[in-house]
Symmetry: D2
């Protein structure tokens, strides 16, 4: 392994790979260090919905960031697919956030009003209209908020496309390489200690998802990110049952190629355990059959889990360490890591380039308690 | 492939392999022809319960045959494991057929009375006694019929043990070899046509399970066996949850090694489709969690299906063709193919040896309508 | 299952699905009967090379048919992907048929001459030119015949795309449905006997690959098609090693997405056994490393086998039964089933439509010995 | 997670589980912390040979330790299987270390002399005798050193049997729980920091294999253990080809149940990468076919890799930290982790119990350079 880089990225998930891609594109010499395999954790487990409007239900910097990131997809996926040859599965057939009760209906109507004011498309479809769009959803639903612009990708595909495109542009990826510590010198970072020896750079970015906390402990910073497990399953319907993603309280169904449906996801806080339990799949199956009854006859394919990084205030951490120059973090994207990956890559590259100064609401100095000894 | 055998067995499932084993033990030169792989259909899919008393709830020849077969296990598995080196997973920790309602309770008490009269052990355990035996079953059950002698095996293991033991004794097994037709001469069989050419023998046994009907059509015999699909799943509990098999209406849970639990099984008539549906696993998971709530936290391992052969009167067909000498069938064991495999092997070998004359209730001549042109 | 169709196709492989697609497009009511799963045999096992010029090395009707089929791809895959949503992996980056010895070089130069005369592009690349095109092929090769127009597909993807597109157009596919016999009436076919009962149609097409012989035996026709097993493996290179397919005596390497390389294939005659042997993979690995040394460091992914249908004269059988009207066969494509699937679908549809009369060199009446009792 | 234990074991591999078993048996309250799943690294990858005489070819403390450990197997596996219900696959059919050249023959004869002097059984079998024992080994070998007492186990099975038996005796196992640091107080350990929070104990044992070095860096101790990757494959022979393990330079073949053969293993230093390369499997296949030609026809099953921990002097580290009381290591078993697990468990339990004082040659204070700041 060559020993000095313009930037070292820790973590070969979707955000680490996106940052590497942006930096490589700007001519930087980049190394990405991944403990196991590329996209082997939450980036490979995600259902891939780009829910800027579905997932984010109130105004604020994250909503802005998400909308910006969503607009980057059409052009970006084209560029990535051309460079990498890896299909991203990007498609934009909208989402349906359904209401089964009057309370949910009122909540959705408020949301539509807010989003319309914000300049986004969102529309109420009463039961009969919903069934025209999606004849296979349950006829007992009251209706749905229709969001034409929330698309989806193959999360693992997009993640590998970022990585392979970055490789084509000269970035180096080292799998099965653990980072055990930062190498600090005075008030700046100068490299990392890996289980293969030290590597040097004056810019180190930790894109380490739910595993971020421990690495930073030694720098006196207690990053409030905790793991939240999500379990999913996939099934193959003989004929496509839905065109857009169907989204309800506690369950979403995402249509993939060849009749495949991905159903997610549980929320189990404070665990790194990736085992899929009987109760989780049982509950998801029950909810999915209520939403789209025809899934009952689909063939069960497989079940899996991913570990999402949740910050205490729900916002990701994107910024420089308050005490060490050159040491950055880009983590805490929770359920929106796939959606936010384009904007995260660009923003972090701008930050390393000195093009932006302060990431405002995403900066690390917001951590309460701040730096400890 | 050598061309003349003392006996040809069609089907490399558990009964075909058991018959081959018994014949090889008696010095016969045997060929077993399997369309795909040994134990690749229902023999490899079965949960392996030996439910002589659990599954068979009324007196008659099948109950007698099942009890006889069950007694053969302890000695037979020892012999097979020594010869083949393949573990059969045989264990005898009993079954619990539970009652959730008063009606079920009365039904079970009748069954206990009948089985006690028949000389079998069966005992009513009220709720508190059941929980002493099996502390992890639902505390809301009224109790269970406890059958200490209904054990279980690894169905696939036992099936391969029969086959490998038969091989050690000289039997030849040909996988990926389809039989397309019998070769008949006057009123007797003289061989079979395979997709690799003809093979000759004056004794041909079809141990072809749910696939038996079509092969016999051309002999003028319409064997009333139909396929019944059964879906299952397995899960791994951190610690063993149950010692014996727990059996209820529509669901059983079988404890295997290392905390593995096999949960079965659906009953879908008239299909050879081996796809596992969402609705099937959803329903089994719900029932299993009601029976043994702790399974909720077990890790989902995998799901699969098998196709059982059901005859119109519920009895297997074991006997010679009414019109062609030397042509035998051993099929239609429905949910009891594993349990009945020891006795089936012995009985069919006796029949080929001329040691028994008439298989009475299992004979083919009971087919209504009889022979057609 | 509805009971009467305009056409019944036996076999859910790529040619059965292609025929179904063409018929459905013409408004016919079509049923496809598949014994197991769609594309589960050779169509799902093939490496997907479209070797019109690579595989077919002499003039004649098969070469013409192959060239015609190859030209259909660009438009057809676009249509199929739009209708079905299934990616076919079609790409056209050419093939390199390499020479390691002077004899091979001379043979290739003759071939180039023949193909140039036939109006096809084919060019000799000496060692240094070859290495400019493909820097990772062995530098010890003498050179290669470069065929810019022999592309490739994901064989399983294309097969499912045909099937799903046919479904969208109304064709019905029945998996796990075996055909046991034709139903004949006088001199015509009127349906088939399946293990789910009879289905009727006055047009029945057997697209049954290596399994064709047995079905036709009862019609007095001994179709000279035999099975030839081919074993393959795939490996994942960190970076793409080759752009086009590299083809030598006894081994080809096909570059797929994300650095995947498919290496094939052995030729084992007269067996339906799908087991992959140690010797086969060992030999392929040795050859592949000689061709493209960098594959040594690629990660072994998996190994598999398929069973190809070889006719006695090397030509497929495409035509009507000499004795039974309405009974057709489309089988015997050997190593070219994927390449020939577009033209086979169209030709068979034309034949059923009465648009073509006689398939000349592919007709069944060429079978020597002809009809037997 | 309960917060205070008599002992904490880091690592749920075979040695961590063996230590936990011995401590639990002595009534200690034990927690085992495993970063992923039990036996998921080298313990689950090992071929399971117990090569006390095959692997260890010179006198010294490791040879003594290995012989002692080997004698513990028969009784121990019985106890573990009874407690845990997990089969260990223990069998003792000897090993054959073969000679293909005169040099190898002379080397083996020296080895036999040494081992005979040491009181162990070892015998030279010339070619014709070897072929009587093992008719399927290559007839071109000069002969073999026959070691009747070097048996084998299912490495993963034994590892889980240790763990499950320990659980039955009260030990607690926490999967998906990473240890990020020791908690030290003055000159002793008082617990560990995990990604789920701190856990306390005054006895902490790191059974962390090739991953040991980094954890100890912060204690000022640079443990000279490095990773050595080993790649393997398995194949299924129709009939058992060998009875004992066949062992040559660079390749061994271990016979498992049902005709399965495990072939290992490469030696790639200084990498944690678990990917299996084409060149590795290609080389192993070639060697295996030279040793036992019949493996050519066996069915390739799968390929995998494990990461073995190699110390600089070849001896494991078994002992207490020179600077911190209560902090122990048991790692560096290299190719002999399975063989040494019984003795390691007992020795470490004795050490924690104060029954032994100094582990002599295995102690940590032998590390050259000693403690650094």
């Amino acid at each position: 392994m060559d020993n000095t880089y313009d930037a070292i990225i820790i973590g070969g998930g979707i955000n680490g790979s996106s940052i590497a891609f942006q930096l490589a594109k700007r001519g930087r010499k980049v190394a990405v260090l991944e403990r196991e395999r590329l996209a082997c954790k939450s980036s490979g487990a995600a259902a891939g919905i780009l829910g800027a409007q579905t997932e984010l239900t109130e105004d604020g910097p994250l909503f802005e960031f998400a909308r910006k990131s969503r607009t980057m997809f059409p052009e970006l996926v084209k560029e990535l697919e051309e460079l990498s040859g890896v299909p991203t599965g990007y498609q934009n057939k909208g989402m349906y956030k359904v209401a089964a009760t009057e309370d949910q209906l009122l909540e959705l109507k408020d949301l539509i009003e807010f989003q319309t004011r914000a300049g986004e498309k969102a529309e109420w479809l009463p039961n009969n209209e919903l069934l025209k769009h999606e004849p296979n959803v349950s006829s007992s639903l009251l209706g749905a908020m229709y969001i034409p612009n929330d698309g989806q990708v193959d999360a693992r595909g997009l993640s590998l496309a970022f990585a392979k495109a970055a490789m084509v542009l000269g970035a180096e990826f080292f799998e099965y390489t653990s980072v055990n510590d930062f190498i600090l010198q005075g008030d700046k970072v100068i490299g990392v200690q890996t289980d293969q020896g030290p590597i040097h750079s004056e810019a180190v970015v930790a894109a380490t998802g739910a595993w971020s906390k421990f690495l930073f402990e030694k720098t006196g910073l207690s990053i409030p990110i905790s793991p939240v497990k999500g379990e999913c399953f996939s099934a193959i319907a003989k004929k496509p049952l839905i065109n857009g993603t169907v989204f309800s309280h506690g369950c979403y169904i995402v249509p993939k190629q060849s009749g495949r449906l991905v159903v997610g996801a549980t929320m189990k806080p404070n665990t790194f355990d990736e085992k899929v339990t009987v109760s989780a799949i049982s509950a998801l199956m029950e909810k999915a059959q209520l939403l789209v009854p025809g899934i009952a006859d689909a063939e069960l394919e497989r079940a899996w889990a991913g570990i999402r990084p949740l910050s205490d205030d729900g916002l990701p951490f994107l910024g420089e360490h308050p005490s060490y120059r050159g040491l950055y973090i880009a983590a805490g994207h929770f359920r929106n890591g796939i959606l936010l990956s384009p904007a995260t890559g660009e923003l972090m590259a701008d930050l390393l380039d000195g093009k932006v100064e302060d990431l405002g609401p995403f900066r690390l100095s917001r951590i309460s308690g701040g730096i400890h000894a």
